[in-house]
């Protein structure tokens, strides 16, 4: 369950907007997080409080396959992104790095920048506390929840290998 303020961005936000290439000299989540979305707007991240929620239009995370993009979002303190849709490689990389992603289609229209949201990713429900509206979405699949529970794919595989050994 997530609870926080919505920060809304537009459609086709690419990985260079999420984390510009000049910051790829590190893999440290805190450093990357400090520059999250700086390709969109310098200082964007200053508005974010830990636990806030990113809301985006279609094709979020298009462009390069850099895994630094979901790491930067997590590093900024954002645990979940709800978007109209995600670009393919970002969708994988997001879960692999431990970032919860929800595809909500046109439901994105029911969220304004600054709205207070409550997100139940397991049940697939977003409650817009500000407007009182409920936005249904596909729940995070059980398998992806297993990956998220272990902080991402590396942890998932590590546990799986240990269990098998």
């Amino acid at each position: 369950m997530f609870h926080g303020k919505a920060h809304k961005v537009g459609a086709h936000i690419d990985t260079d907007a999420i984390i510009p290439a000049k910051f790829l000299v590190t893999t440290d989540p805190v450093e990357l997080g400090a520059n999250c979305m700086s390709g969109l707007e310098p200082g964007w991240v200053d508005r974010v409080k830990k636990g806030d929620i990113l809301v985006a239009g279609e094709n979020f995370g298009c462009g390069s396959s850099r895994e630094h993009a979901p790491v930067a979002i997590l590093g900024a303190g954002i645990p979940v992104v709800a978007a109209h849709s995600f670009a393919r490689i970002f969708y994988r990389n997001g879960f692999n790095m431990g970032l919860t992603l929800l595809e909500i289609g046109d439901g994105v229209e029911k969220i304004r920048d600054g709205d207070e949201l409550r997100v139940d990713a397991d049940a697939g429900v977003i409650e817009n506390v500000t407007t009182g509206e409920t936005i249904p979405c596909a729940p995070v699949p059980a398998f992806m929840r297993e990956i998220l529970k272990r902080g991402g794919l590396a942890g998932y595989v590590r546990d799986k290998l240990e269990a098998g050994a």
Binding site: N96, F143, M144, G152, V157, L161
Partner: protein, 419 residues
């Protein structure tokens, strides 16, 4: 449930009944591939996972093809890292040195990929194997590391766009032209996250090599996979390449497609993708006089024997224009030897070409044919992003082997019928 080719393969491998687009399925993998650029990161991810062995030493493949022969100390270090891992893990299919071919030409040739397989690769052109009716796609490094350790991965079932190929191909027009035309129609994100399924009467006429050329560039339209159904040609190709008894795979009648696009080849001329995006496609005759400084014939898109024959047919008995570097890179050692046996290499040498080893080299601006500022290349490769083949101020035009050969002769981008 009536299934598209992509859905059918995923259902077979995952054991899931419900493979509706959007569903997530877990899938055992037939093969996991990485190259000299992506393998080192995947190997490091494996270490982070605590994985000390690969799931199957015959099914984890590393091909050091991108900077081969190693172009500098950094690339040599990367290859050394790959080799040490391959030796430690006992990988059966590790390729370096004289064994190396461009990965997406090499693996089908060796029968390491075949119809109905599910393959992931740390390389975006892994989708090439869709020409052989395999569900094959590129992934990020952590995914590849996990796949190497577990032998499985997850897929979100993609919706399928049906691409119906009809009409008759004019002389000098082929698979590359059809694909460039399609990318021009769909745009670079037109198939984002989706499967392309090539069908229609003309798809049956294409050779398996031509089908691989088309599937190879599915990613240039944003696609996850580009798939042909398998037919007698597919099965015969597979049988001739260590894969006897390959299955016939076709979409069910009544399968659901997201949409359908048709390409009628009748009257279509050779297509050229202009700088700096693959979807900036025009018929060759509309280009005007575009002076070129280099022509590259090779790569995972067009470095196969059929491509070399098409180029040789244009170049035979003629000389490349002065001040044009014509570079021919047969994609695998077997193709190289076959081109030698057929006399194609002699034709290339007599035309003034540089015949190089199998390598990805210039396609990604690696080496063996880098462009200076202000230089322009015509290439049979797959990407023409700004700076892709060298200087940020250089330009790359993408075309078929016939157009690349004809243009080398005249020094301007030329319709093959004109030489």
């Amino acid at each position: 449930m009536r299934r598209t080719v992509a859905e059918k393969i995923l259902a077979l491998h995952s054991g899931e009944e419900d493979v509706t687009p959007g569903r997530i399925v877990r899938c055992p993998l037939s093969l996991v591939l990485a190259n000299d650029i992506t393998a080192p990161l995947a190997i490091k991810a494996m270490a982070k996972m605590g994985a000390d062995r690969v799931f199957d030493r015959e099914k984890v493949v590393i091909v050091c093809d991108h900077f081969t022969p190693n172009k500098d100390i950094d690339s040599a270090e990367q290859v050394k890292f790959c080799r040490e891992f391959a030796v430690k893990m006992g990988l059966v299919n590790y390729f370096e040195g004289g064994d190396v071919g461009v990965e997406h030409a090499l693996l089908p040739e060796l029968g390491l990929v075949g119809p109905g397989d599910v393959i992931v690769g740390g390389d975006s052109h892994t989708c090439t194997y869709g020409g052989l009716s395999a569900f094959a796609t590129g992934l990020g490094s952590t995914d590849i590391g996990a796949a190497m350790a577990l032998g499985e991965t997850w897929f979100k079932v993609p919706p399928t766009i049906k691409v119906v190929l009809t009409g008759t191909l004019a002389p000098f027009v082929g698979a590359k032209d059809l694909m460039l035309r399609l990318i021009g129609m769909l745009g670079v994100s037109g198939a984002l996250y989706k499967a392309l399924e090539f069908t229609g009467p003309l798809s049956a006429e294409l050779s398996v090599e031509g089908r691989m050329t088309m599937a190879n560039m599915a990613i240039e339209a944003g696609g996850k996979v580009g798939l042909f159904a398998s037919d007698e040609k597919t099965v015969a190709y597979a049988a001739a390449h260590n894969r006897p008894g390959a299955p016939m795979l076709a979409a069910d009648p009544g399968a659901v497609y997201e949409r359908e696009v048709e390409i009628d080849a009748t009257g279509m001329s050779p297509q050229v993708s202009c700088p700096h995006l693959p979807d900036n496609v025009r018929p060759v005759e509309e280009l005007g006089d575009i002076v070129i400084h280099q022509s590259v014939i090779g790569s995972c898109t067009n470095g196969r024997i059929e491509d070399l024959r098409a180029a040789a047919a244009i170049l035979k008995g003629k000389k490349a224009a002065k001040n044009v570097r014509l570079i021919v890179l047969p994609a695998t050692p077997t193709i190289w030897k076959q081109a030698l046996a057929e006399g194609l290499l002699e034709i290339f040498m007599d035309s003034g070409a540089i015949v190089g080893p199998p390598t990805c080299g210039p396609c990604l601006g690696g080496h063996m044919g880098i462009l200076a500022g202000g230089e322009r290349a015509i290439a049979t490769t797959n990407r023409n992003f700004k700076g892709r083949m060298g200087s940020l101020d250089s330009e790359v035009y993408l075309a078929s082997p016939a157009v690349a050969a004809a243009s080398a002769l005249t020094g301007v981008i030329t319709h093959p019928a004109a030489v």
